[in-house]
Amino acid sequence: MKYKFEIILVIAVIAFIGIFLCTDAQMKTSGEEGWGGSDGVGSEMLEAQGYEPWIENSDYTFTPPSGEIESCLFALQASFGGLLIGWIFGSWVTERRLKKNSN
């Protein structure tokens, strides 16, 4: 099986999406709100205990002014990483192909 690992990965991703859809449907029927970040949930647990953060990002640095701009920056972060990976793997593939042809 040449593509054994790829097939396993695809099956796992499909299972993952299936679990997501099931949980989502359950949460919709029970009326719970969800799909926030887990770090947000952790922080909310602390705030529920009465803890107040003693410093915030907006005190000293840039904070994304809205969710749109935040998603833009996240997309930039991911595309930068993706470009780097694609470029390097691409040049490795080409290098191997050139070596094969010269023999």
Binding site: K2, E6, S38, G40, M45, P53, N57, F80, G81, R96
Partner: protein, 232 residues
């Protein structure tokens, strides 16, 4: 996995910064030495960093009804070791805390400790141990990547539990509560991440096996066996 800015009181954020700094300095020293000796490892370093950038930007929904993201540190930890991973992880976390308001400068020490130091250290040693007993290579990669990811979130829980022990019962119930939020959410993501890195390592073995030999990720014999297995 970030502890948000302001959510670690003194002295905890200072303690984690003090623990993280020597690792970071040692990592920079190791990185410089590695690149002085071997410029051709630079692309692999780029790929390793790229994965941390991409995967830590992917916020995925999980079984507990909240979202979290993979860490992507496994490739770097297994190939370059935990110290160089510490440097790359630091850069990613710094970017996120400065531009995305995820984590912060005071909690950066604690976040670097969990994602870029202890997680990769755990994954690295698990991989080395499995390699020594000649365990199946791809299974070892899967386990090591899983460990890198899950340990990160366990350490985040530990950091919060140490700083905020529960009023009744103290440290342990608090740890259990945070593990319930962070680690349980992370289990499915860690499985996917493990599988992604198995595929990535497969392609590195096909395209650039000499880099893995140079970094002593595995012995030459083992590499030959794997290559034979894949050409069948």
């Amino acid at each position: 996995m970030h502890i948000m800015e302001g959510f670690l009181p003194s002295p905890w954020w200072q303690i984690w910064w003090i623990l993280a700094l020597p690792c970071l300095v040692y990592g920079l020293y190791k990185l410089k030495k590695l690149l002085d000796e071997n410029r051709e490892l630079l692309p692999l370093l780029g790929v390793a960093g790229g994965f941390i950038f991409v995967l830590s930007a992917l916020k995925l929904p999980s079984v507990t009804g909240s979202c979290s993201h993979p860490t992507g540190t496994a490739l770097s930890a297994i190939t370059f070791g935990p110290w160089i991973t510490c440097v790359i992880g630091f850069i990613v976390l710094l970017f996120q805390s400065l531009f995305l308001a995820h984590g912060g400068i005071t909690t950066l020490g604690a976040n670097v400790m969990s994602m870029a130091i202890i997680g990769p250290v755990a994954g690295y040693f698990v991989y080395k141990a499995l390699d020594k007993i000649n365990f199946n290579f791809f299974a070892s990669i899967f386990i090591a990547a899983f460990i890198c990811d899950i340990v990160t979130y366990c350490i985040t829980s530990l950091e919060l539990a140490l700083a905020f022990p529960a009023t009744s019962g103290g440290f342990l119930p608090s740890l259990a509560a945070y593990l319930g939020v962070f680690a349980v959410t992370q289990i499915p993501l860690a499985i996917i991440e493990g599988l992604v890195f198995v595929v990535i390592f497969k392609y590195i073995i096909i395209l650039k096996p000499d880099l893995l030999l140079k970094l002593k990720v595995m012995s030459e014999e083992k590499m030959k066996q794997l290559q034979e297995m894949m050409t069948e």
